[in-house]
Symmetry: C2
Subunit: 412 residues, 2 copies
């Protein structure tokens, strides 16, 4: 059959109430009448998931994870049923399924399960019968029929994985922004929507706080080469296409500038400089399930070294507890933390074949007299930690330096 | 294994919020520690089902019924997960299942499915592993894996059907009343809780508006002889045992007095008295899906007859529409309705072998100068339609006549 198959995914804010659900239904009907076969993945309505979590925590501080999956998976089930009702009412055949019903098979790690396999038989049958197939995101089942959820970004993951399994032409992620921008438009008024970006770049931008899509789903898209459009569910724009790196892209040196303000810096001063010291500290942090971002070691003395790292502010207290204990055991001199930091980063595939990007970034900061506290680089990213109060100013300066704005495009 | 197995069922008001869920959990833990194996059936939290229905009706006037089942079944799934979390927190192993997960197989009639079979394998396994098994009421699946709901009284039905399938010692229905009473305690202060009552009697009482349990589940209990306790989830009383008729019961002539105030009377005057007339009228009403309660035909003239029936007030308008059309076709003289009626009934197994019950009931009404408009009798029930304003007074008079009150027990 040559009728194109498209997977669409709508987030919780797109289906937060009856009116919005009806709007999404109209968009689906439009795409269907334009001649597409459609599989639609939906998240839970608005704040449903948070409300359910709150209710569970009123009952137990650490609720059983299997039961949490049982509980939370109801959110998406409500959404798919309501959306199917809304599409059906517009005269287009629609049928909803839970993740378990459509054979999304996961491992047994409740609340953060990974998709192992998708049995597409039931979806294929419904598509063949002419239905718009509406699937609950974020959920699956184990091979022993236990309901699981996929954790953060789970609905995006369902959509991209279904697009792969069904050999869809592409996947469309509908959200409340117009696409991926060269910088946060709330900070840089001149920020430009990016038409096309590579999986690698979006991965760096996502981990940097430009929260358009969760990394897990981009990784799956990258692995199986699924083209992903990020679009605004309220408008009709083309959005941003996330796809594999192309020749054309390489001409562009820097794709975007990102700002992260939710991290804190921890420094351990004068740690004895011998092998295995860093390993000991970060093994402890890993064991406590604390996510570390940047790590920098400065050897300032002859027999000791200073180690700094950044951590999300909401895990800072737990991180300090772990680190202080380790520092005592290692006879380090002192542990100091600073919550007043910001991390500004430039991302771009072209960067690895163009020298001088780092120098231009540092110069832009210097001109504004912004001091750099930490630097970290990867093949396609350069990040600097600076004073927390100056993050937005830094983003604007760097955005201008690399001529990323709408008004600069012609000059490039 | 000789450890007794008990099925408990908790209604929506018993699990309306976190505090009540915790109270139910404590009750479960107590029963478990007393040495019982437990299967617990739960309804949706408080008004959840109504809220979901309202949301669906905002989207479509007549929502697709398959999708309504998809939607509504989430309510019970939330309850079982939260209750399992609550029991687990008290240190007792608990595991929740949806109706489909435990193999409650139904027919394909969405929103009012009937249970065809229960595959108890998964429950048996969990019980063997020492779990309290918590099952979502009101739901099942078809043999093609479609989610269905059982309609009104569905959770009670799940509980009684599970008790039968698992060969439980008995079934306990927890509600917000202490049991079944000889009359509504809000009307008759002296009303007495009945310790033991037959399936037949509770069926008559249920259909008369003493809404303790839905008829469908009592019928299943009767068919498979499952002893059912109706108890208050807030207290520790024994409640009322619903069981098969015993020798002892037959001594008791009248079990209780019930009042129904939500019916209206419709009379069709001077219908030509020829065969098939009543059939025509009531076939039309049945086709319009209108429930009729009492039907009485009085032949007053030589060539015509008067037909009266009662109908629920919320269906009166539709009933009148149907009946007036039929009356015109049959050349009946007139259709009159009266919403100001009450139906008072006495129910009792003993009645069928004791004469004089009807006479005593009519005499009690006569002493109060309450006029009887209609009379209808079955083997174990006598109902009278009277002036709507005098229903409560009639119940009190009859309750006293048959010495049903707490203070009368000794004299009987």
């Amino acid at each position: 059959m040559s009728i194109p198959l498209i997977v669409q995914k709508y987030g919780g804010s797109s289906v937060a109430n009856a009116r919005r659900i009806q709007r999404v239904a109209r968009r689906i009907v439009k795409a269907r009448k334009a001649g597409c076969r459609l599989v639609v993945v939906v998240s839970a309505l608005g704040d449903t998931t948070d409300d359910l979590i709150e209710l569970a925590h009123k009952i137990a501080k650490e609720p059983n994870e299997r039961e949490m999956d049982m509980l939370l998976s109801t959110g998406e089930q409500v959404s798919v049923a309501l959306l199917a009702i809304a599409v059906d009412r517009l005269g287009v055949k629609a049928i909803s399924f839970t993740g378990p019903q459509v054979g999304i098979i996961t491992d047994k790690f409740h609340t953060k399960a990974r998709i192992l396999d998708i049995n597409t038989e039931r979806i294929q049958k419904a598509l063949k019968e002419g239905y718009v197939v509406i699937v609950a995101g974020f959920q699956g089942k184990t091979d022993s029929e236990e309901i699981t959820t996929l954790g953060r970004g789970g609905s995006d993951l369902t959509a991209v994985a279904l697009a792969k399994a069904l050999k869809a032409r592409h996947c469309e992620i509908y959200t409340d922004v117009d696409g991926v921008f060269t910088a946060d438009p709330r900070i840089v008024r001149d920020a430009r929507k990016i038409e096309r970006i590579s999986y690698e770049e979006i991965l760096e931008l996502a981990s940097l706080g430009a929260k358009v899509m969760h990394s897990r789903s981009v990784e799956v898209g990258k692995k199986f080469n699924v083209p992903i459009y990020v679009r605004n569910s309220m408008h009709n724009g083309e959005g941003t296409l996330i796809t594999k790196e192309t020749q054309k892209m390489e001409d562009i040196t820097v794709s975007g500038v990102a700002l992260t303000e939710d991290e804190a810096k921890v420094t351990i001063y004068q740690v004895p400089d011998r092998p295995g010291v860093a390993a000991k500290i970060f093994a402890r942090l890993a064991k406590a399930n604390i996510n570390i971002d940047m790590i920098i070691q400065n050897k300032t003395q002859t027999k000791t070294t200073d180690i700094s790292f950044t951590v999300f502010k909401n895990e800072l207290a737990r991180a300090l507890h772990v680190v202080k204990k380790a520092a005592r055991e290692l006879q380090a001199q002192q542990v100091v933390c600073d919550e007043n930091i910001a991390k500004v980063s430039v991302v771009g595939i072209g960067m690895r074949s163009h020298s001088g990007i780092a120098a231009r970034m540092f110069a832009a900061l210097a001109r504004k007299k912004i001091n750099i506290q930490m630097i970290s680089t990867s093949e396609i990213k350069i990040s600097c930690v600076i004073d927390g109060k100056r993050g937005k100013e830094a983003v604007r300066a760097i955005h201008r330096e690399f001529k990323l704005g709408k008004n600069s495009v012609k000059k490039r």
